[in-house]
């Protein structure tokens, strides 16, 4: 780990961590029957209400960390804890926004947003009413009857956010949620995300390959190494909140942080790039 004034310990406070990964290794079997190590000896900790971003080169295993926290995957070695308890299956306190469209194409907007409460056994009328609230909060009032194929990419993402936020998750996992959007829409969505997050005060792990996005959103940024991934450096982002994502990029402190983290990230990106070039 790098010695820098901005680096804080990987495990700030054992007792209060919302998410904790301890020396986690994750191996997958490839279709060819070989073991592929996605994560190696990775430790990280996220405090309650903290917004953490995880950056790293493409394909380094960033998404795997989310899979482990959510309970969709199990670690090969090591331990994953959520709210002080080892992860066993899927925790209802967790929300997960996926990289690609994961809203249900056969449900209209209202039904999509109401999916979580209905799955969790809330009465239908109550779930639908609650869904109306969240549709209004993401600015999709009037589109309740539309099906996903009738919406733009940005609108579909809003549906996905409402679908996740309606469950009031205490832990919010986001896997490059805005990477498929155009730059303007993306900035708007990032602002909205920060607004919504401030109202529910969840702990967030936001995976991205975009360092700018990571710095403008997060309290702390974890830099991962090229796969197998482990934590290379942790940076505290001391930019004041509330932030305006579109403009924060011009602040001197932002630029300074960017340079500092990029120093760390650049080598990993180069390693990953060289490897991809050779394998292709």
């Amino acid at each position: 780990m790098k010695d820098s004034s901005t680096i804080v310990p990987a495990v700030p406070d054992q007792a209060t961590a919302a998410i904790e990964l301890r020396n986690v290794t994750k191996r997958f079997m490839t279709p060819a029957g070989q073991a592929y190590t996605a994560l190696r000896d990775l430790s990280m900790s996220v405090a309650p209400g903290e917004f953490c971003a995880v950056v790293g080169p493409t394909g380094c295993g960033k998404s795997t960390t989310l899979g482990l926290i959510s309970g969709l995957e199990r670690p090969s070695v090591g331990e994953v804890q959520v709210m002080g308890k080892a992860v066993q299956g899927i925790d209802p306190r967790i929300g997960y926004v996926f990289q690609s469209d994961a809203i249900f194409p056969w449900k209209n907007v209202l039904r999509n947003v109401a999916t979580g409460p209905l799955f969790r056994g809330r009465p239908k009328a109550e779930a639908l009413e609650h869904a109306h609230d969240w549709i209004a909060r993401v600015g999709l009032t009037g589109f309740e009857d539309r099906y996903p194929h009738q919406l733009s990419g940005g609108m579909r993402k809003r549906v996905a956010l409402a679908q996740t936020f309606i469950n009031e998750p205490q832990i919010l996992l986001m896997d490059e949620p805005f990477s498929a959007l155009d730059v303007q829409t993306r900035t708007l969505m990032e602002d909205e995300l920060l607004n919504m997050w401030s109202s529910i005060s969840a702990s967030v792990v936001f995976v991205t390959h975009d360092l700018e996005e990571a710095i403008s959103l997060a309290d702390r940024v974890f830099v991962l190494t090229a796969g197998p991934a482990t934590v290379k450096g942790i940076y505290t982002i001391d930019l004041p909140r509330p932030r305006n994502v579109a403009e924060i990029r011009f602040e001197p402190r932002f630029v300074q942080l960017y340079q500092e983290i990029w120093e760390d990230l650049r080598d990993e990106v180069l390693i990953s790039y060289e490897r991809n070039k050779r394998s292709s």
């Binding site: 969709l72 690609s100 969790r120 194929h149």
Partner: protein, 290 residues
């Protein structure tokens, strides 16, 4: 001033109505042409048939004759068939077809979803399903007639067997193709295993299943009619067989016309069902159907 007015007039595009009208007129003309040619085609085939059989190029005793077919249908309608009133024969065949279709679809969907979700079971049963599918299943009709008798059950059973495999393979594939992201998302949102099936897997596989309904309905009809051929006391299949036995070529064709009419009406119903069930899908393929 007048020069400026002229310029303004030119700059403002002429109302586009003329364009739209021309396009609409062209589309209308095309539609009329298509319909006219359809009628011409029908008249040429049926008229040619009638003409050739009248001048003796085709022997109507063996190959039938359109006027003879029409007469036969009228006779059936007014005087009934050898086995009873015409509508009763149609009703019997339809009942067998629909029953076989519904049972076959239900079994196909259930087995397809269960095996699609359970990889282990699918691996164990896979070879047997492939073997069963490779048998020309129409021969099972003989077994069913022996085992279940001349009544309705043997025809329904044959239709079920024919329908089952088509629907089963489609449902199975549909379940296998469900987007992994959707499954993960549903699990995160709190879906139980049953909800995963009813709310994600089946709706997602429905596109595949419904695509198989068109084919499987015609197979249900094949099952019912072939079952009647093999041994029965009622139905359109029996009418065909009786006509064949008495060298009544017109009777065979007349029964075919009735079958085709029934099949087309049912096909329209299946399409209507399809449109009701998958309203969420973008309408991209609707134009391709003939």
């Amino acid at each position: 001033m007048s020069v400026i007015k002229e310029a303004v007039k030119r700059a403002v595009p002429a109302p586009e109505n003329s364009d739209v009208q021309v396009a609409a007129a062209l589309a209308r003309r095309r539609r009329i042409l298509v319909n006219v040619l359809r009628v011409v085609f029908f008249v040429a085939i049926v008229g040619g048939w009638e003409l050739f059989s009248r001048i003796g190029l085709i022997d109507p005793f063996f190959w039938g004759q359109p006027t003879g077919i029409v007469k036969q249908i009228i006779t059936w309608i007014t005087q009934g068939t050898a086995q009873g009133p015409l509508w009763e024969q149609i009703a019997v065949t339809l009942e067998e077809t629909i029953l076989g279709f519904l049972i076959g679809v239900l079994l196909g969907v259930v087995f397809g979803v269960v095996l699609g979700r359970n990889r282990f079971l699918a691996d164990v049963l896979g070879p047997y399903i492939k073997a069963a599918n490779s048998i020309p299943r129409v021969v099972l009709g003989s077994i069913f007639v022996i085992g279940l008798g001349l009544g309705m059950q043997s025809k329904v059973a044959l239709a079920v067997v024919l329908v089952f495999f088509i629907v089963f393979f489609n449902a199975f594939q549909g379940v296998r193709e469900v987007d992994r992201n959707l499954l993960a998302n549903a699990r995160i949102l709190g879906a139980s295993s049953r909800q995963l099936s009813t709310e994600v897997i089946i709706p997602s596989a429905l596109t595949w299943i419904i695509a198989s309904l068109h084919t499987s309905f015609s197979f249900a009809l094949v099952g019912a009619v072939v079952g009647e051929f093999l041994g029965s006391t009622q139905g359109i299949g029996l009418m065909i067989q009786t006509a064949q036995g008495t060298f009544n070529a017109n009777g065979v064709f007349a029964a075919m016309v009735i079958l085709a009419t029934v099949a087309l009406i049912m096909e329209a119903l299946v399409t209507a069902l399809e449109n009701r069930l998958i309203t969420w899908r973008p309408n991209t393929v609707n134009d391709v159907t003939i």
